[in-house]
Amino acid sequence: MIHLWLPLALVCVLAGAGAYGVIARRNAVLVLIGVELILNSANLLFVTMGSVRGDALRTGQVLTLFLITIAAAEIGVALAVILALFRKRGHIDLSEPGA
């Protein structure tokens, strides 16, 4: 028995932290960390509600798995692009105007 407000509060905090990280960071990799936190807040919400609802399709957990996989795919492409950026510019500062 877990009171639902606990995981939900964690969801909110994670999302907020992610949002903060996305904006407050100028290093591209650190921005990615913020994005991961947002994704994880979504995951936690899925898992929590999946457990509450417990539907036949196991939607909550299946979607969490999907999201984790998508996150991995995203990170791969993202890091490749960030490396390309680094090689072009010598830094990965997102506060610098693009060309």
């Binding site: 009171h3 407000w5 907020g16 904006i23 960071r25 650190l30 969490t64 890091l79 680094f86 060309a99």
Partner: protein
């Protein structure tokens, strides 16, 4: 307050704290490491919530793969060790970020907690087989799409990283049209 409540509260607190630290620390590598902590404890939360498969995958994929990739990236981009305020944006933007973060948190909380905060959930464990069945049964179409996505992400990442580039110090290369 049940024991699970307390357990979840403790683990969740660590998760939240490490998540906040991950986005606020001034040291790059620390940020990545705090992320590891956050993701790892989150896996613990999943376990408490009865999603053991998800927890495992979380550890495997996120902590095992994603964070390693992030660390590699930090190293490849010659990230400076030690404290450096350069990684955060201007003070104004950070204040804005704090406001937005608080806004996001409260918006979500205002929507979620009144509706569901009072409910309780009883975690069910040992659901892995059912999940597997549904994953490859009902969810086969998104699963297959996901496989395509992973494949293409891999190819894309390879293609982008193998792209011929010039050194950062050289002047802007001539614009060429790929058409």
């Amino acid at each position: 307050m049940t024991s699970l409540d307390i357990l979840f509260g403790a683990v969740g607190l660590i998760t939240a704290a490490s998540a906040v630290l991950a986005v606020t620390t001034q040291q790059l590598v620390h940020a990545a490491l705090w992320l590891v902590v956050a993701l790892g404890t989150l896996a613990g939360c999943y376990l408490i919530l009865g999603a053991e498969l998800v927890a495992l995958v979380q550890l495997l994929v996120y902590v095992g793969a994603v964070v390693v990739l992030v660390l590699f990236a930090l190293m490849l981009t010659r990230a400076p060790m030690g404290r450096s305020p350069e990684h955060s944006s201007s003070a104004v933007q950070r204040i804005a970020a704090a406001v937005i973060a608080a806004g996001t948190t409260s918006l979500l909380a205002a929507v979620l907690l009144p509706a569901l905060g009072g409910e309780v959930l009883s975690a069910r464990t040992g659901d892995t087989k059912a999940i597997a069945t549904q994953l490859f049964g009902a969810w086969v179409w998104p699963f297959e799409l996901l496989s395509v996505l992973l494949l293409m992400a891999l190819i894309a990442a390879l293609a982008v990283s193998r792209m011929p580039t010039t050194s950062p110090t050289s002047p802007v290369p001539a614009e060429t049209e790929s058409t």
